[in-house]
């Protein structure tokens, strides 16, 4: 027995040593480019992304691209957090939110993209200016990320169910919206599919209500502490969530189910609408994945009559690629080249035609024969935004605000008053500052 164990140990050690060495000697001469993005999984957009990386590797045999991207949020955060703390930041990475970018610029973790954008006019001038401006930092010159995804958040709704309920067109104002919810309840469907167990889904809904009621600049004021979560106008945005909940706009099981289940309720025709982003379009138009695919249309979130000035203050998804500020020489040149390939006009055309994934560039148009009406509807309405915000907490320097705000908003669905939810968030701010 002992002899067997010793033999196994020796064998394993040899195996390990062999594996651990691998082709390191061959690879040592090559330039290594590490990527840590959220482009992982089995979606079509990820396939395009991986294909572009393969093309880059074929073009440059002296480069190894190590893609450490993680779709799973906690895995991504763990990796990024430890990389930031241990000073082993990847060449291309992604940081969510803009509030902390100033610190990273000061510690030279982020490269300024402005000189690179200015140097290559054909590439640099093709980006949507609003999306680029999102990555400017007050008090600092420069642009600190390249936007790689943009899309309008809104309601995907089932036209057939709306017609059955006697609603001719998607409501434009909040009051009309509340009437529509009553009519949808009368035909026994869930008005809004919501899976609050995935707290981001409630967070997204509140973001859009917030921007419609107070505008995008108010989120920046929350971040700079000019206004508070307990101010009556901010509490009112939480009150609107309560209004929807009290009206039974969501399924009674909404607090306990995940967003995947809620999305399935909508895809099976059990729910009349869902508030989500353009990333679901490819499944919404797939007959195998969405039985009611032929009835789905898209609309912007209704506006408040008394706040008509914020009618087009929209929540949009904007995701970035950032470059490490420590790169030099050949490694820097190759990294920039790969970044350009991933965000070029050609990449944009491939992303939109093959995956209905929108790169925020203005120098190409989607092929109408290849993309669906739903994508075009989303894209057309996205052009009407006169103010763009992502998540409200994106402007807050306290990292825990992502979880705090989302959990407190969910608590409104569980019976907490909007003021209690606002106080809970404000307490977190007081404690952390």
């Amino acid at each position: 027995m002992i002899k067997k164990i010793i033999k196994s140990l020796t064998l394993c050690s040899i195996c390990l040593a062999f594996l651990a060495c691998g082709d390191e000697s061959k690879d040592n001469d090559k330039v290594k480019i590490r990527l840590l993005t959220r482009m992982a999984g089995t979606s079509n957009s990820v396939k395009v992304y991986k294909d572009i990386i393969s093309q880059f590797e074929q073009k440059h045999p002296d480069v190894i691209v190590v893609d450490e991207s993680q779709g799973d949020e906690s895995s991504f955060n763990n990796k990024l957090k430890t990389d930031l703390a241990s000073g082993t930041l990847p060449n291309i990475f992604r940081i969510q939110g803009v509030a902390n970018l100033g610190e990273y610029v000061d510690t030279n973790l982020l490269a300024d993209m402005k000189p690179i954008l200015d140097e290559d006019k054909e590439w640099g001038e093709g980006f949507n200016k609003g999306a680029l401006n999102y990555y400017t930092i007050p008090g600092k010159d420069g642009i600190y990320a390249i936007p790689m995804e943009q899309g309008l958040m809104g309601f995907y709704y089932n036209k057939d169910l709306f017609n059955k309920a006697g609603i001719e067109k998607f409501p434009e104002t909040w009051d009309e919206f509340l009437v529509a919810i009553d009519k949808l309840k009368d035909i026994n469907v869930i008005p809004i599919a919501l899976g609050a167990k995935s707290t981001y889904s409630v967070g997204h809904l509140h973001n859009q209500i917030f921007y419609r009621w107070l505008g995008v600049d108010a989120a920046k004021k929350l971040g700079s502490r000019e206004i508070k979560w307990t101010d009556p106008e901010v509490v009112q945005t939480l009150e609107f969530i309560k209004v929807l909940n009290d009206k039974d706009a969501f399924s009674p099981s909404a607090p306990g189910i995940s967003n995947d289940i809620a999305t399935t309720q909508f895809k099976n025709g059990e729910a009349a609408m869902i508030f989500t982003g353009p990333w679901n379009i490819s499944t919404f138009v797939d007959p195998e994945k969405t039985p009611v695919y032929a009835n789905i249309d898209f609309a912007k979130f209704p506006y408040f009559k008394e706040k008509a000035e914020f009618k087009n203050q929209d929540m949009q998804v904007i995701s970035p690629y950032m470059i490490s500020g420590n790169l030099k020489g050949k490694e820097k040149d190759y990294t920039i080249e790969l970044l350009k390939m991933l965000t070029s006009k050609d990449a944009g055309i491939r992303y939109v035609n093959e995956a209905e994934f929108l790169l925020p560039r203005t120098d190409f148009e989607a092929d109408r024969n290849k993309v669906g009406e739903l994508f075009l509807a989303n894209n057309t309405l996205a052009q009407t935004s006169d103010g763009i915000g992502v998540d409200v907490f994106d402007f807050d320097k306290i990292p825990s605000m992502q979880d705090r705000t989302r959990n407190s908003i969910v608590s409104v669905l569980m019976g907490a008053s909007p003021m209690e939810a606002g106080e809970e968030i404000q307490e977190e701010i007081s404690r952390k500052e």
């Binding site: 959220r38 399935t264 994945k289």
Partner: protein, 276 residues
């Protein structure tokens, strides 16, 4: 009296059936889901699949690169277990059989290791791994697992070794055995039941760990199976059918190992009883 006994049997069996169902339930859910697509999983989560999508397993095997990752997971887990058997049992032998000045302090020192949550040391460990250029090094990964599993293994083995009859050891020493021989030929074989138990925990711990390989391994040739499973998680949606198929395949190996070790435990226990 007989009625009382019948009641007792009914209650016992009801409880056992309830516990069994609660353990088997998630496994059946995983196996059923492995044949479904997302829509079917979420609309009828507990039903038998309408169509058995066997292609989920083929796609999962390819997408998760399971052939290579399986091999890596086995190498990592088996190496961790073997190193732990020797290191933990040696320490336990000393702590359980020798009276020296710092014995108690040393025991407490090892026990303190159990109090350190893994998450709290991720940054310093990854800093050292980065500085020492140990990324993509399976030996480093195995040593990290060994370090984290050592306190628990020492705790269990020390307790077990303290229970070995002292007269056996004394007899061996009188017969001229050295301490090394006592350890290798007497204490280690007698401790097999405890070693088997500890090995199951350590094997599963190494097999299931995601965080350390996620931070230390980025070479596709060296990744373990847990990282392969992450391939099915996208930023805004996951392919649960494929993920469940991959999990079903992944669970098979530890299940077999567990069953094998279960037998060892029973065998070991009987052997110990006869020697006593």
């Amino acid at each position: 009296m007989k009625q009382k006994q019948t009641h007792h049997v009914v209650i016992t069996y009801s409880f056992l059936i309830f516990v069994s169902l609660s353990f088997i339930g998630p496994m059946i859910f995983t196996v059923f889901s492995s044949f479904k697509n997302n829509n079917e999983i979420f609309s009828t989560p507990f039903s038998i699949p309408k169509i058995f999508r066997v292609e989920n397993f083929i796609e999962a095997w390819n997408a998760a690169n399971m052939g290579t990752y399986f091999f890596n997971s086995i190498v990592i887990s088996v190496s961790t277990v073997i190193i732990l058997i020797f290191t933990a049992s040696m320490v336990s032998f000393i702590l359980s059989r020798f009276n020296f000045k710092f014995n108690k302090y040393l025991s407490v020192f090892f026990l303190l290791g159990m109090m350190i949550p893994m998450q709290s040391v991720l940054v310093p460990i990854s800093y050292f791994v980065g500085v020492l250029n140990l990324k993509n090094n399976l030996v480093a990964l195995v040593l990290v697992y060994v370090a984290f599993s050592l306190p628990f293994s020492i705790l269990v083995l020390t307790g077990f070794m303290k229970g070995i009859n002292n007269s056996l050891i004394e007899a061996a020493i009188i017969d001229g055995a050295s301490f090394w021989q006592v350890y290798l030929k007497l204490v280690l074989p007698l401790s097999m039941p405890a070693i088997a138990t500890v090995s199951i925990f350590n094997f599963l711990g190494a097999w299931n760990n995601v965080v350390f390989p996620l931070l230390f391994i980025n070479d596709n040739k060296l990744k373990p199976i847990t990282l392969g499973l992450l391939n099915f998680n996208g930023e805004r949606g996951s392919e649960y059918g494929l993920l469940m198929a991959a999990i079903t395949i992944t669970v098979l190996i530890p299940l077999i190992i567990y069953m094998l070790f279960q037998e060892k435990i029973e065998g070991g226990l009987t052997a110990g009883a006869i020697k006593e």
